[in-house]
């Protein structure tokens, strides 16, 4: 079953970038902004898919790690005057470091214990930001990537600039991740998820492989956090509520948590939910408390329904059904 992947599959990603480039020139501002949000979610959801789908660890700490990345980017840019492009790298590095520490603890924990521990972290960490003046308290910090360069023309809007940065970062990350997952590390993670004892017998250091997955996933989350802050313009504790970790989990489950391929589905759904909820609430003419909570209800409801009825995600479910169908077809021919 040993499959070699020499090709690095860069062409689809370049093509994707070209398509995005032309699309971003054709749609209105709101859609461009939503496009940037989709790119943010793509990165954030892949960090969960890598961790939960590939290495089998359920962490609710990704929202907190996004906050770590976002604060690292903002602080490095504001206090140490690091160029904005480099501050994204700082976000990745600092979050990855935090993830490595968390991963070292996580490698000793299984299933529900890990979920509970990271839940405690997700609730506790954002409130810590209020304690340090360098982090700006409740209001948070400004995180401004600046105006688009003049060379792009005078009609080039701020949102389009966000979208370009976010989409480029997402494409690069997806390409890297795709290659990592098809390398021996990806196989190691899947082996550990499938049967840990068997993986250990095969000579895999499952503890180390889990910590590596945690570190990479945290780095991705940190990048997503910095990207999110870029689109909002500030970094504050309220940007990373527990609800964010829940939405990401929903996005990951909808994407099909065991494959990277469906990640765009989850991201689009997450961006679409508030809009759909708005339309529904408007139709029903409902009160304010219903309107504000409808997105949360849809996110959580979808999470339950997906786990119950299409546990491996709609894409994977469809593929499995097709494979089964073909297998039956082939066997009936014989």
């Amino acid at each position: 079953m040993h499959k070699r992947h020499n090709s690095s599959h860069i062409i689809p990603f370049i093509l994707g970038g070209v398509v995005l480039y032309f699309i971003s020139g054709m749609v209105d501002e709101l859609r461009v902004y939503q496009g940037a949000s989709i790119a943010v979610y793509v990165v954030a959801i892949s960090s969960i898919i890598l961790l939960t789908g590939y290495s089998g660890q359920v962490s609710l700490g990704n929202g907190a790690l996004m906050a770590v990345g976002a604060y690292a980017a903002a602080v490095s840019h504001i206090s140490w005057h690091i160029p904005i492009i480099l501050s994204f790298f700082v976000a990745v590095l600092v979050a990855a470091l935090a993830g490595a520490l968390l991963g070292a603890a996580a490698a000793r924990l299984s299933g529900p214990y890990l979920a509970g521990t990271t839940l405690a972290l997700a609730i506790g960490l954002p409130s810590l930001a209020n304690q340090f003046s360098i982090l700006g308290g409740e209001q948070g910090l400004l995180f401004d990537v600046g105006f688009p360069p003049l060379s792009l023309g005078e009609n080039f809007t701020q949102y389009k600039w966000f979208f370009w940065i976010a989409a480029l970062a997402a494409l690069i990350m997806m390409w890297l991740l795709q290659n990592i997952l098809q390398s021996r590390y990806g196989r190691t993670w899947r082996a550990g998820r499938g049967n840990e004892v068997a993986a250990q017998l095969a000579g895999i250091n499952t503890g180390r492989s889990k910590i590596l997955a945690f570190t990479l996933s945290a780095g991705l989350a940190g990048l997503a956090g910095a990207m999110l802050s870029m689109t909002i313009g500030t970094v504050s504790p309220s940007a990373f509520p527990l609800a964010l970790s829940f939405s990401l989990m929903t996005g990951a489950v909808l994407s099909g948590i065991t494959t990277l391929g469906g990640v765009i589905i989850g991201a689009v759904v997450l961006v679409a939910i508030p809009e759909i909820a708005d339309v529904v609430a408007h139709r029903l003419g409902s009160s304010e408390s219903v309107t504000t909570n409808l997105p949360g209800l849809i996110v959580s409801g979808l999470l339950i329904l997906t786990v119950l009825f299409v546990p491996n995600g709609p894409v994977e479910q469809h593929r499995a059904r097709k494979a089964r169908h073909e297998a039956e077809h082939n066997s009936s021919k014989k």
């Binding site: 939960t52 789908g53 089998g56 359920v58 609710l60 603890a105 490698a107 000793r108 924990l109 299984s110 299933g111 529900p112 214990y113 979920a115 509970g116 521990t117 839940l119 405690a120 972290l121 609730i123 506790g124 960490l125 409130s127 810590l128 209020n130 304690q131 998820r193 499938g194 840990e196 499952t206 503890g207 889990k210 527990l242 609800a243 829940f246 989990m249 929903t250 489950v253 948590i257 065991t258 408390s289 219903v290 504000t292 909570n293 409808l294 949360g296 209800l297 996110v299 959580s300 409801g301 999470l303 339950i304 786990v307 119950l308 009825f309 546990p311 491996n312």
Partner: protein, 302 residues
């Protein structure tokens, strides 16, 4: 001296409430091998049931059983509808082990959203049955109040009732049997499914008491986003883990220990550590004694 006494008394009262929450998590874990992350959400909903009863009848002593019964029925429904479907659909495949975690988290989100829709985001008030002004001892005023005493008494009474139920009745025997050896229990004629639902219902009732007491022990304000319930969610889980997740006695000890530890940290170190202290305590427990204080099996290590 008076500060030390106050710290311990605050810790014990809060710890008693965490114990109840831990008990409900342990009850669910023993009956279905699921950690119910929605437990605090269910406690929140039950507390709103209690609030409605307060509005109608203006008596805490009627509101408390209403909350308990409401919580028990809701928990039983969750087990019958959600958990049984979950076992049916998602017990195989790559995410089988994480499906229950994800499902109960989803339930937590659904409950929070629905509660906010029905009762709105603003604070509502539940007035405690007794005064929360501290007792005076020798001219000094303690933070320990008649209300806090009542909380402790109710926690102790509930634990006594639960231990009688578990140790002295046939239902308790069935509950214990289904937890430790479901197959053998089934062969001996125990209706294991029914017993599981009962375990959830008991957990729902215990959580409801925790929610009601936590609300009156705080400032009496109740809202879907109140800090009290985030704290219940985390503390209940941590207390259950400290206690070893299998044992009711362990849950009580874990809750009390956690309450006192947090109280000391807040009083003597920094009140800013309100949320991060429980996390550090949890990590310490998981590293030093991962099987919990009572637990004997190394179940939680990866």
């Amino acid at each position: 001296m008076i500060q030390l006494l106050n710290t311990i008394l605050i810790g014990v009262t809060a710890g008693g409430i965490y114990s109840l929450m831990a008990i409900s998590i342990v009850l669910v874990w023993r009956s279905t091998r699921v950690i119910n992350f929605a437990q605090a959400g269910m406690a929140l909903l039950s507390t709103y049931f209690g609030y409605e009863a307060m509005v109608q009848l203006n008596s805490f002593w009627i509101a408390l059983p209403v909350a308990m019964i409401g919580g028990a029925i809701f928990a039983a429904l969750v087990e019958i509808i959600l958990m049984r479907l979950l076992v049916k659909h998602s017990s195989t495949g790559p995410i089988a082990s994480v499906a229950p975690i994800i499902a109960t988290l989803g339930l937590l989100g659904v409950i929070r959203a629905v509660v906010s829709m029905i009762w709105g985001g603003q604070d509502v008030r539940i007035t405690g049955p007794l005064s929360n002004d501290g007792f005076s001892v020798g001219g000094e005023t303690l933070v320990f109040s008649p209300l806090k005493l009542l909380i402790l008494v109710s926690v102790v009474v509930l634990m006594l009732l639960l231990s009688i139920l578990f140790q002295k009745t046939n239902i308790g025997l069935a509950l214990r049997a289904s937890a430790y050896a479901p197959e053998i229990a089934r062969l001996s004629g125990v209706k294991v499914d029914l017993v599981r639902t009962l375990g959830w219902a008991l957990a729902g009732a215990a959580g409801a008491v925790a929610g009601m007491l936590q609300t009156v022990n705080g400032n009496g304000n109740l809202s879907p986003d109140s800090i009290e319930f985030s704290l219940l969610l985390v503390s209940g889980f941590i207390a259950a883990v400290i206690g070893g997740l299998e044992s009711l006695v362990g849950a009580v000890i874990g809750g009390l220990l956690l309450g006192i530890l947090i109280s000391f940290v807040l009083m003597y170190v920094s009140s800013a550590l309100f949320f991060i202290a429980p996390f550090v305590i949890l990590l310490a427990v998981l590293f030093i004694r991962p099987q919990g204080i009572i637990g004997a099996k190394a179940g939680r290590r990866a």
